[in-house]
Symmetry: C2
Subunit: 502 residues, 2 copies
């Protein structure tokens, strides 16, 4: 039987092995998923299940964190925080669905006087799209993996989930999958298929019952999944979060007023956890002559070598650093080769005019690397950027009145705009948007973090002139679920606006 | 200069010619569109513009209808209704945006006590996605064309629009484009490019500034546009509405109680306007032995020959009828060749078991053709259907208690489920969903009719710790727009749910 072996990034040594799935397991998982869909319609059952997964993660937190630490090299404190974040995420989605927010229910009662023709009774809610395949990320073995945000939001929507377990943390995924299996969800509602080979991933993408795909990872892998899903006889939505440069802009006034404080924050965001965050600031726009680049190089040097998650990421980082070295000045030394999959942080500086001319400086380098663009004129350098998950701006209060055009530029490219903080730290709330235009994601209308992540796995359906007893509860006259709905008054013209019912 | 000549479907004779666009015009249109985006942020300006287009259409209604009648062969009464529908649609979208519904604003205030880390202030709204290319449909020269639902919802969202004018109604498109040009929208916010050649369409899809595409038409054209958009260096969302069979299920009780009434409704839906509706019932599931098929053949025969929109649709219809004839029994005679692009309606019958075995009977035949599937056992025949825009069910009140599983089957494949009516007639309201799983559309989460059509052209952005003055008005503390927003209370736990502010 094929297996996947864990490797400790701190030493490069192999550890425990875990059974791997085969393409035959894919068909069984999707068949079971289809059979589970009816039972998953019971919202209380799903939300209870999500809450039990959260409790289970907390109850077995020591064990989960210990395995994850060995497999990822991430520090215990970070993993404990990530575990709690994962639990909170499951609970937020359960609460959102329990409150009925995901239905986005709209009721237009019949209007015999409507122009140009009488209007029937029309009621819209949202239904689960079907079985969802989740490709977990290596860099968040809990929050963006087995029971992470994609799984939580798909289950919250009522969709069965098949997770393609990431081979970089096989034991963590297997253990979390056990916790999910004990949460009382219907049989077939969740399957964990651990695999290192492409054939399982391809079978999951190709299976006719797969209704949507969620992915967090590299641009290369994400765009390969998207291309394969588009080539299916029936293309399906792919929600791929593929990384980002997350530019940070520092105004001259901010650099002068609190340069050292900003540098400390940036060094922490780049030089912790190996810089392996999709919201790592990979680009910093600092005023020429501000000394930000040199200070950041000093501060990152103090952070010292960082463990990367696996040998592939390590090799990719070294290639990325070499590529950046060709077009920008490397300000940090490359010391002796550290142990395991460790690498040295790297800070580069480049003049804005050179940055504009060299697209290779806008390739994401996953790991503890950052390019400081030293600018005189800022806007032209921002205008060459593609879609981003996040963009941050450090500015002084007296500048706020003049920053409108700059904020416009940042919102034009990014899914989240941050004031006076680094882009790392993606809070799990209702208002969070973790997404952005291509190439940050493949679907700019959707988020992979926060309560509205559930929207990716829902599909509106309108019921016309449907007897009350045959309507889903969300749409019945008596509003038995007590959910928020948007209503047009009986007989009202279309143009009179909506009453929000709560 | 290249031109596009109108052809009268009632005679096949050529009429007036209109100047055609070139690929060079595409770049000019997109450049102007990008420049218009800032001015289009003014919501009052956009909504005033939409309302002025509606007024302009009504004011010049006689002229518009006369041109459209000559170019489409559709009867005057239908075109007058379609014009009013188009105007109502523009007004509905203006009202929806004026009410601020499209923002879907969410505000999570900072929470220093949040677990596992303190939460910053996070506020989400939605922004326009960028210039939208609209491919109008031939079969609705007003409601799904130049100033139709796609244009209205993109402009409502704040997106500039470039319409690729349909060559089948060049004069109608040109006249409606004049009306739009007089509506006071910013320069570049709307461009009409009339073209019969593929090169203009391809340049529109490929242009780097194109941010999204909306299309209504055939599966063949829609999937070609989707494939080309996916092959761009930066793929963009394609909202293609590609047609549907729109199955109608008649229970034995309904057939017995009101067969003739149902047949009359079906014959009207298939045999009017050439059956050229994306919600035409192309499949009817009637109880074996009910006589529905024969009665429908008689009723459609009485409707007589129908004009199709152009020679291509006429040829496609004849091919489709031939293909259906190979697998089903044709119940209607093929009389002598009528004038212009007219064709004879066609009714086919087939046993459910044969229908299941022959996928060619599930190909849409655009025009006045319908396949009656005569069933003993119904569910297996429904289970072979792919995604549909709509599905309808005729049943008697005493059956309602047992219809749950059947309604589930219909909602599993369709974007709209209708009781006791034909699927034609797509009301323009807030709760309407005109969409569905592949191959009905390329994006099952979105609608092309109704107020929420605007969602296709919006992209969420979250502002983190942003000074009030730099927030868009929709997110400012004082709620100066007076729009509905979802709020979490200051300091509240994530889990406490949302308060809906109005």
């Amino acid at each position: 039987m094929a297996s996947v072996q864990a490797v400790d990034p701190r030493t490069g040594r192999g550890g425990a092995s875990y059974p791997a799935a085969t393409p035959e397991d894919v068909d069984a998982a999707l068949t079971a998923a289809v059979a589970a869909a009816l039972e998953l319609r019971d919202e209380a059952r799903r939300t209870d299940g999500l809450r039990r997964i959260a409790s289970g993660l907390r109850a077995r937190g020591d064990e989960v964190v210990a395995v994850a630490e060995r497999e990822t090299g991430l520090p215990e404190g970070r993993l404990r925080g990530e575990l709690e974040r994962t639990a909170v995420q499951l609970e937020l989605l359960a609460d959102y669905v329990s409150a009925g927010e995901h239905h986005d229910a709209i009721i237009d009662r019949a209007d015999p006087d409507a122009r140009p023709v009488p209007r029937p009774d029309l009621r819209r809610t949202k239904l689960p799209i079907g079985p969802v395949v989740v490709f977990g990320a290596s860099n968040f073995p809990l929050a963006f993996s087995t029971a992470g945000g994609d799984t939580a939001s798909a289950l919250a929507a009522g969709c069965p989930v098949i997770v393609k377990g990431h081979p970089s943390h096989p034991g963590t995924g297997t253990l979390v999958a056990q916790i999910v299996a004990e949460a009382g969800l219907p049989d077939g509602a969740f399957t964990h298929l651990l695999a290192a080979d492409l054939d399982v991933a391809e079978a999951l993408i190709d299976h006719p019952a797969t209704a949507a795909i969620a992915f967090t990872g590299s641009f290369r892998a994400g765009s390969a999944i998207l291309a394969r899903a588009n080539a299916r006889p029936q293309p399906i939505p792919v929600y791929a979060e593929m990384g980002s440069l997350n530019p940070v802009v520092i105004t001259a006034a901010a650099a002068a007023a609190r340069g050292p404080e900003i540098v400390t924050a940036l060094a922490g965001a780049v030089g912790t956890f190996g810089g392996q965050l999709c919201t790592k600031p990979g680009l910093v726009f600092a005023p020429a002559g501000s000394g930000i680049a040199a200070a950041l190089a000093d501060a990152l040097g103090a952070h010292g070598p960082q463990f990367l998650l696996n040998a592939g990421i390590q090799a990719g980082y070294e290639r990325g650093v070499d590529a950046l070295s060709a077009g920008a000045h490397r300000l940090t030394a490359n010391g002796s080769a550290p142990a395991g999959f460790a690498v040295h942080p790297a800070v580069f500086s480049v003049a804005a005019t050179d940055f504009i001319d060299d697209p290779s400086l806008r390739e994401e380098c996953f790991g503890p690397a950052v390019v400081v663009v030293e600018y005189g004129e800022l806007h032209a350098a921002l205008d060459v950027l593609e879609g981003q998950l996040a963009a941050a701006l450090y500015a002084e209060p007296e500048e706020h009145a003049t920053l409108g055009p700059l904020v416009d530029r940042l919102t034009a490219i990014a899914g989240r705009v941050i004031f006076d903080a680094v882009p790392t730290g993606v809070a799990v709330t209702t208002a969070m948007h973790h997404g952005g235009p291509w190439p940050a994601t493949s679907a700019p209308a959707f988020t992979s973090v926060g309560a509205t992540a559930v929207e990716r796995f829902l599909r509106p359906v309108t019921y016309q002139n449907t007897p009350d007893a045959l309507l889903p509860p969300a749409l019945r006259d008596a509003n038995p679920l007590g959910i928020p709905r948007r209503m047009s008054a009986a007989g009202a013209s279309l143009q009179l606006g909506l009453r929000h019912q709560r």
